[in-house]
């Protein structure tokens, strides 16, 4: 089954690799945004099934973007997975406590990224 997912990350190469991975391995429909503000707009417009959200971004960071998404009825129920560097692993519990579905780490394996997301969200396919 195909899914529709929004990737929000300020780093172009990460966006490209994640999109390639999800489109090629799992045939998912991928929407991308390069900032938290743009990501909120795309989420409101496109209503993705899930959001993969980078933690460390200039301007509006991942946790702030998540809290903003929670304010709007059309985006509040979209599950969010944070994407963060391994050096921030100690923050994993803190991120989970704010209400995100899961935290995945960079560098991710492009071959298994879709499976990791599916597992985190309980998607069966």
């Amino acid at each position: 089954m195909s899914h529709r997912i929004l990737i929000i990350d300020d780093e172009e190469d990460i966006r490209q690799v994640a999109a390639l991975s999800l489109e090629t391995v799992a045939s998912w429909d991928v929407i991308i945004a390069s900032s938290g503000a743009n990501g909120i707009l795309r989420a409101q417009q496109e209503k993705p099934e899930a959001i993969l959200l980078d933690v460390m971004m200039p301007g509006m960071d991942g946790p702030t973007t998540f809290r903003e998404l929670q304010k709007y009825p059309e985006t509040a129920n979209i599950p969010v997975i944070l994407l963060t560097a391994k050096v921030q692993a100690a923050d994993q519990k803190k991120f989970a406590d704010i209400g995100v579905k899961a935290v995945l780490f960079k560098p991710f394996d492009p071959l298994t990224l879709a499976q990791q997301i599916s597992d985190a969200l309980g998607w069966k396919d």
Binding site: E11, E12, D13, I14, Q16, V17, L20, S21, T24, V25, A26, M56, A85, K86, V87, K106, P107, F108, D109, P110, L111, A114, Q115, S118
Partner: protein, 116 residues
């Protein structure tokens, strides 16, 4: 999601993406090396430290994706050194130098290798 042809397609696309991304990755390495040089002459330069931290963070996140897990690990160690709350010390500069040199070796070897 375990289609072998999809895996082969992904590998080919990643190789193409590596070719188009390696210039940017080498630029990040140069930024990190410049930050290290500046910190070697002025250990308390906050701009150099921030520049180095950002470059190391970005390298840590992407190198493993392109088949350089040791590069990601090394960049993470540099990020950790530069991120510490306390001031950098001369004692910290030595591992910073060694890690930056090691990272340079890893990235340059990959950039010269046409295969994934």
């Amino acid at each position: 999601m375990s289609d072998p042809s999809a895996a082969a397609q992904l590998q080919a696309k990643l190789q193409a993406l590596w070719e188009s991304s390696k210039g940017m990755i080498l630029e990040r390495l140069e930024t990190l090396q410049a930050a290290h040089r500046q910190l070697s002459s002025d250990i308390s330069d906050p701009h150099a430290r921030q520049q180095g931290l950002e470059a190391a963070h970005k390298l840590a996140g992407i190198l493993g994706v392109f088949g350089m897990p040791e590069g990601s690990e090394t960049a993470s160690q540099i990020e950790h050194l530069l991120k510490q709350e306390q001031s950098l010390t001369q004692a910290n500069l030595k591992p910073l130098h060694q890690l930056t040199e090691h990272l340079s070796t890893i990235i340059k070897a990959k950039s010269l290798n046409p295969n994934p």
